[in-house]
């Protein structure tokens, strides 16, 4: 199995505060890797380091074989990112958003046109191509945001709490999209607060107070911590946290 994300003792300090302490893990190609933790545990910081938004304080990390310190430009070409905040432009239409994000990733005009058609078809949004994004229901927006984050066919996509505030049916549909992408060989690195979503992941890591407290498949974790569900496993670990959430 090809390893696409590898970190060794990856650390980020903000002054005296250690947000991420010696994180070591690796993620394989095509894997859906769940990155769990309570608020303030350091998930977002870790993800930002991997995306090249933050420089690590210490440790090593490679994304698709490229170093996060020196080769961020190469990394940027190969990853997609969907942030916690909804990240499409409200005042642009569905098609304009797709075209814009395809464009800034340097896709050619015909490639963008073809991709736009395919995405609209996949999302069944053909009729809404010219609708402004602000007029779409939240669930649709979220699915569109995911599709846009992988519009340039990246090998890895980072999803930072992609399903916050979305109803269960839409979340289910959203995960169908994630599975479809993973089937095509896209590696999914996802943070979430929904424990049912954790069950959908191939492997899950749980961060507590800046360190990785557990890392395995959901089944193995449930056995290890003697919980019936990921919910219980998470609770078991997270309640030991000393840091207050944000």
């Amino acid at each position: 199995m090809e390893t696409v994300i590898r970190t060794e003792k990856l650390t980020k300090r903000f002054g005296a505060f250690v947000a991420c302490n010696e994180l070591s893990f690796s993620v394989d190609k095509g894997e859906i890797f769940g990155f769990l933790g309570a608020n303030g545990a350091g998930k977002t910081t870790a993800m930002r380091m991997l995306c090249g938004l933050l420089t690590p304080s210490a440790g090593k990390a490679t994304i698709a074989g490229f170093d996060v310190y020196t080769q961020t430009e190469k990394i940027k070409q190969r990853i997609g990112y969907m942030s916690q905040k909804f990240s499409l432009y409200d005042d642009l239409s569905v098609a304009e958003n797709i075209r814009f994000y395809g464009g800034i990733y340097g896709m050619s005009r015909p490639a963008i046109r073809e991709k736009t058609e395919r995405l609209l078809e996949e999302l069944q949004l053909q009729k809404e191509a010219k609708t402004l994004v602000r007029e779409l229901p939240l669930g649709w927006k979220q699915k569109l945001a995911f599709s846009v984050s992988i519009v340039h066919d990246p090998g890895i996509v980072f999803l930072d709490e992609p399903t916050g505030g979305v109803d269960p049916v839409t979340r289910r549909q959203f995960w169908d999209l994630i599975y479809a992408a993973a089937d095509k060989g896209v590696t999914i690195f996802v943070t979430t607060h929904y424990m049912d979503e954790a069950e959908y992941c191939n492997r899950v890591s749980i961060m507590v107070d800046g360190v990785i407290a557990a890392l395995d498949s959901p089944t193995a974790l449930k056995q290890q911590f003697g919980g019936a569900s990921m919910e219980e496993v998470f609770y078991e670990l997270a309640r030991k946290a000393k840091r207050k959430g944000d």
Partner: protein
């Protein structure tokens, strides 16, 4: 390059989809020019004035009654000597003072000529001009009445002195002022808001994760505002030519070059603001408080800089609109050429280069 064009296109879409802001952007200069234009021609009634009469003769009595009877004046004080005038002006009790010298009436009867002194508070130049004109009109009427009655030519000559602002920067001052203000507002506010909005939306993160160059983000944000500002510039110039009778006397090219320099300086300030502001409101307040007030107060179009305390005079050197204001006045109103404004142009270029470099350096490639 194509990526840059795609981004710029997106910025224009943002601008054109936001009809309300667009309307405000183009409505603002029009409203300002029209407002100032009409405000200039407004009547001023009941101005408080002081009279110092050293002569105390029949003629001065008649003229004083005449002045007091006019709806434009309200004789606040009749002073025995001119020494108290200064204090009254400083307190703002009076806007104008009339002084009749000793032997005023005798002069008039014997030589057919007499001079009266008129002192106006010109810190508000428009008001000073208007009320002095009212007074001159009263004196003119009085002259012809006297001449008719006496059967010989009698002439009272008002000798006018503008206090606090002898140059009497008045009406034509407003157009350059409005130009500086509007351009400053549009450029600074729109730029900072456009960038901070991406931060608020969370799209800035996405952009920074993408291979799109941060420098291009800045360029794309500046492009629409530059265009809007140049269009605004021409609207203001056209309006002031048509309605206020203030055509561009000098070279239009020179004026536009100076304006573009100023616009770029303001865009850089907007950029700098956006780096520090986290919300659109903060960016908005920053540009309003940080830029609009200094532009109004320290540019010299409302209050003459020469009469300010030294500290403020020094401070005013840092305000870009102060230099731009001089450029417009020299080129547009006086019709002077490059040799008259090269220093101001150079200062603006320096400011622009400095601000742009700083903001470029501070514009974070990484979020923290």
């Amino acid at each position: 390059m194509r990526q840059l064009l795609i981004f710029i296109r997106k910025e224009f879409l943002h601008v054109f989809r936001d009809r309300k802001t667009l309307l405000m952007l183009f409505g603002l200069p029009i409203a300002q020019i029209v407002l100032f234009g009409f405000a200039l021609s407004n009547e001023i009634k009941n101005s408080h004035i002081a009279i110092v009469d050293y002569s105390k003769d029949a003629v001065t009595q008649r003229l004083i009654t005449r002045i007091g009877g006019s709806p434009y004046f309200n004789i606040q004080r009749t002073l025995a000597s001119g020494d108290q005038l200064n204090a009254a002006f400083k307190k703002g009790d009076i806007k104008l003072a009339v002084i009749f010298p000793v032997g005023f009436g005798d002069d008039l009867v014997h030589t057919g000529k007499a001079t009266m002194q008129v002192i106006a508070d010109a810190s508000d130049p428009n008001q000073a001009t208007t009320i002095t004109n009212y007074l001159n009109q009263i004196v003119l009427d009085f002259n012809s009445e006297l001449s008719q009655g006496a059967g010989q030519r009698m002439q009272i000559l008002p000798s006018t002195q503008m206090m606090y602002n002898p140059e009497l920067r008045g009406a034509p001052n407003f157009v350059p002022g409005v130009m500086a203000l509007v351009l400053m507002l549009v450029c600074t506010m729109m730029t900072s808001v456009a960038i901070v909005r991406e931060k608020e939306l969370g799209t800035m993160e996405i952009l920074l994760v993408s291979p799109f160059k941060p420098f291009y983000i800045i360029l794309s944000k500046l492009a629409p505002n530059l265009l809007i500002s140049v269009v605004n510039l021409f609207i203001i110039l056209a309006l002031s030519d048509i309605f206020l009778d203030l055509p561009v006397k000098g070279s239009l090219l020179l004026l536009v070059t100076g304006s573009v320099l100023f616009i770029l300086t303001c865009l850089s300030i907007g950029l700098l603001l956006s780096i520090n502001a986290q919300t659109q409101q903060a960016a908005m307040m920053g540009s309003m408080m940080g830029m609009m007030l200094p532009t109004m107060l320290l540019t010299g179009f409302l209050f003459p800089i020469e009469n300010m305390p030294v500290a403020l005079q020094v401070l005013s050197n840092l305000v870009p609109s102060r230099w731009y204001f001089i450029i417009i006045k020299q080129v547009m109103l006086k019709g002077l050429g490059f040799s008259a404004v090269w220093k101001e142009m150079l200062i603006l270029t320096g400011m622009c280069a400095l601000l742009f470099t700083i903001s470029l350096k501070k514009f974070k490639i990484r979020l923290q």
